[in-house]
Symmetry: D2
Subunit: 307 residues, 4 copies
């Protein structure tokens, strides 16, 4: 958090059918449905999140990610980052407070990979869902499905990885927690963090711009990953791979698809990061093991099925 950006705070996902998507994200992933706005967008959150929402679903003709937002410490940080972005030649769009319900003003910019990102300093805090602020129980009764605890990160595909790495590192103060380098020592995958997590956002090199690989949600344990896998089968949800472990980050994971074809991940565990940690590095020659630690080969979908 070298430059006042705290965390991945929200993601807006395009879905083809809002009701089907809601059933998926609320009943299967177990996100808490918060509300619907007058643009017909649905807001959700993981139960441990203090802020009002972290996932926004928008019905559209084409699936994918509209944008991802990071929460910053305060409005001063927001202004400084805007100046820095402008100074580095990035255009900045302003979204007024309330455009997302309960969220303060946001500034939006486009990364060299083609993805849109936002920064914001204020979001209504409704507290953890289902437990008291005083003497809180260990977890709330009444959680559904996978009981996802929080929105964790996104993995995005696009070109210009080195420039995007520079943007996130130099302008926004992210740190490089883990990376994949090719034989020429160029970065083909970068896992960027602003906290102790292995990543708040990650990028993989891809010729096509602005592609969405997955949004990821945190679970408590490897047993929770098993339960998630069981639920994926019981609900006849399309699975990608898992339960397995990643080599990169060493998280324990399962990938699957929402009804619109957007990939989701639920995972637990994984490496932790501090600012003085050298980045964990995998060689592209070992990309299979870096991604799927047990299988040690990529499935055909990992590099090609994107939204």
């Amino acid at each position: 958090m070298r430059k006042g950006i705290m965390r991945a705070g929200h993601v807006q996902i395009r879905v083809l059918d809002l009701q089907e998507a809601l059933t998926h994200y609320r009943d299967l992933l177990g996100l808490i449905e918060v509300e619907q706005d007058d643009q017909n967008r649905v807001y959700l959150k993981g139960w441990t999140e203090v802020d009002k929402f972290s996932v926004v679903l928008r019905q559209a003709e084409v699936a994918g990610m509209d944008f991802m937002g990071f929460k910053v410490l305060n409005d001063e940080v927001l202004e400084q980052r805007e100046q820095d972005l402008l100074a580095h030649g990035y255009e900045v769009e302003h979204l007024p407070a309330g455009e997302l319900q309960g969220c303060g003003r946001r500034i939006r910019f486009q990364a060299p990979t083609g993805h849109h990102f936002e920064l914001y300093a204020d979001k209504e805090q409704t507290g953890k869902w289902g437990i008291s602020k005083i003497n809180p129980e260990a977890w709330p009764r009444g959680l559904q499905g996978m009981k996802a605890t929080r929105f964790d990160h996104c993995l995005l595909y696009g070109p210009n990885i080195e420039q995007t790495y520079g943007l996130f590192c130099d302008v926004l103060g992210f740190e490089l927690a883990e990376q994949v380098v090719n034989p020429d020592n160029q970065k083909v995958a970068v896992f960027m963090t602003v906290g102790m997590k292995a990543h708040d956002v990650a990028f993989i090199d891809c010729p096509e711009a602005n592609k969405f690989h997955h949004a990821s949600f945190f679970l408590d344990s490897w047993e929770a990953v098993l339960r998630a896998a069981d639920l994926i089968s019981m609900t006849n949800t399309s699975i990608d791979i898992g339960p397995t472990r990643h080599g990169l980050t060493h998280g324990q994971t399962i990938y699957f698809f929402d009804p619109s074809g957007n990939r989701n991940e639920v995972f637990c565990g994984g490496d932790y990061h501090y600012p003085d940690h050298p980045p964990v590095t995998w060689k592209a020659e070992e990309l299979g093991k870096a991604i799927f630690y047990h299988e040690r080969v990529l499935n055909e979908r990992f590099l090609s099925v994107l939204t």
Copy 2:
């Protein structure tokens, strides 16, 4: 245990290189190396097993299973089962006490699937490995690798499943715990037990006789399956599939190969069986989900890679 057969007691596996195999079964699976006999066979066991050994490795030109043995209650049972086998037209071969070191006399017969099975009443009891008989600790220090607790069952491929089912059910007193039936209601897979386990031996229909699908070993927990998967990667061992869950038996599992190409399984959990339980039935139309509950499709290896 309607006819005095207690459990799957041992399996003799053919391996192409004894030292490589020993490294695999002892250091990776974590079986306890017991001794080597004058035929150069190596004996091993899981640490919770009271009897002296359960796995015998024999170096040979071709991988596969030589035979699988079941322990019976006493010599009277052994004689009765021999009479029953003969009465049902099965030839019975006698192996003298000591032919396997520490094992009493065995009677051997061939099932209609082409596999060889043995019954025996006596085996030297050396006790659980590494813990005291009095005031035993929860587990021994010094276990290696996957820390496999016991040999559990084999899955075998061959023809004549219905007759083999009849042999195990009517002559040997096994019970049908789980099965797969085709649209004509014929059994294409039978999971046979003599105890509370979901299977002591299982058969899947296959035109080729006497094929070995896997030998399976029991682990304590889903986390132990994860550790096993990690070790498979760390040792660059050939993986088949997993961690995953079976639909049949609902066990949590991983499949991999020994250096000779014999498939192994380690697993935990799974259904329990009592004699009054109707068999759990899966339809062949759902075979993918019956075998690999999360993936819901068979991989190409499941039906074709056998030894």
Copy 3:
């Protein structure tokens, strides 16, 4: 199962307030409520149990256990065991089919410890709760609380342990899986089984007759024990001890009390037994560790709080 007795099949527990008890056993333990009979008794079961019920709650002035029942293979076994009981001097009471709804005729006798036991051959089979008989899912949606999978065993306190051991071993065909012996090598605790479980019923020596220590229910995993512990706190239920491990059986466990003061256990894991296994023996000098493996001392309640 040397004499055709298959398993611990049911227990009838006296409770002081039926509605409070139902809330406890159904909503907290997660047993399935089956029905209520015209004597106002409530029937419940664990979701994996094939038979119609395993727990019967009866409102009474005094808490405790009315009786515990074992299911036998068939009516022939039932008649043989009755003859054996009579031949050994035990009085046998007959309860007609339907006295417990869905249960066939039962024969009842009193053990030297003062407890009443029953044998029965028939009980309506309603199948596992919430999953299909064909292509069954891994577990049902909609389970409550601790999601207890099955009634497993009871631990009972009373005098005449050696005679009771003789009754269960010689007359009923139970096996001694684990025991505690005093310095004179007398049995002060016996854990008796008819299957692969570490115990279907256990007895601990106590001068007072017919005392109920606990009824125990099986969980899937150590994580499920943690969730059970959390729920005990969240519901302000009286806890006894745990999560911890037993030395005897090595199961992972938690003890707590129903609203009437009857002790319950939920546990996972633990030793398995075969008929040729010598009994696992703990010395009375190590009774603390034998009972509570981590604490290594008994709490004051273990020997004194009984119903």
Copy 4:
């Protein structure tokens, strides 16, 4: 990390017998023994720690904690914090680079609770133990005992909690993650963090100054806590309480003692913190549940057994 302090980096613990202590911390906790210095101090670390060491054992007449050190981002931060400490009236002692082997210069000060703390900017980085920097495996082979992954935090007892809270919050930039307040809304326990962890250091109000409650080490899972508990029994180590869960932080935990009477904790899970999170608050009236979530009462040792 509002003021450049990154994490709890080391603790120096006084032990009565260095060899016994080494056996405990290395063989039971599973810390990696790094080296011994010419003052006869032994250095250890958890295997995931990048820096050279995190635990220093010093033989002394009286057990307890000598000091606890926090690593800061760089030397500029170190100088700024020194100025701030001086400006707030704290005396600052300088320890030269190399006084702890592999550690740069440290500045030391005493908190109002009586404890000594240090800041330092440099420590030799030897990398995670047992795994490669490139394409790192999930975990190293050859770990011992509890396989503690890292030194996590200390809990300390002393007077002047409010002033100490002020020191850590205002001068050092820690955040208040969790707290216990009495009916007068005074802080009786404060859990302070500089990252996403629930605490890097915690204080509980106590009339006696400079008391050491425990040093805590992180484990991967609740199953690892069970294994730790088993090992505590197997090694006849003095246990305090657990396995259980804390109410505060919701971590899953076990407390035990080193041979000198210093308390240790190993734990997993627990709440995460961000700078915009309001502190989690427990009322002193619920202190029992706040500390031991399952038992809901303090044991007599929690408030009185200190070193």
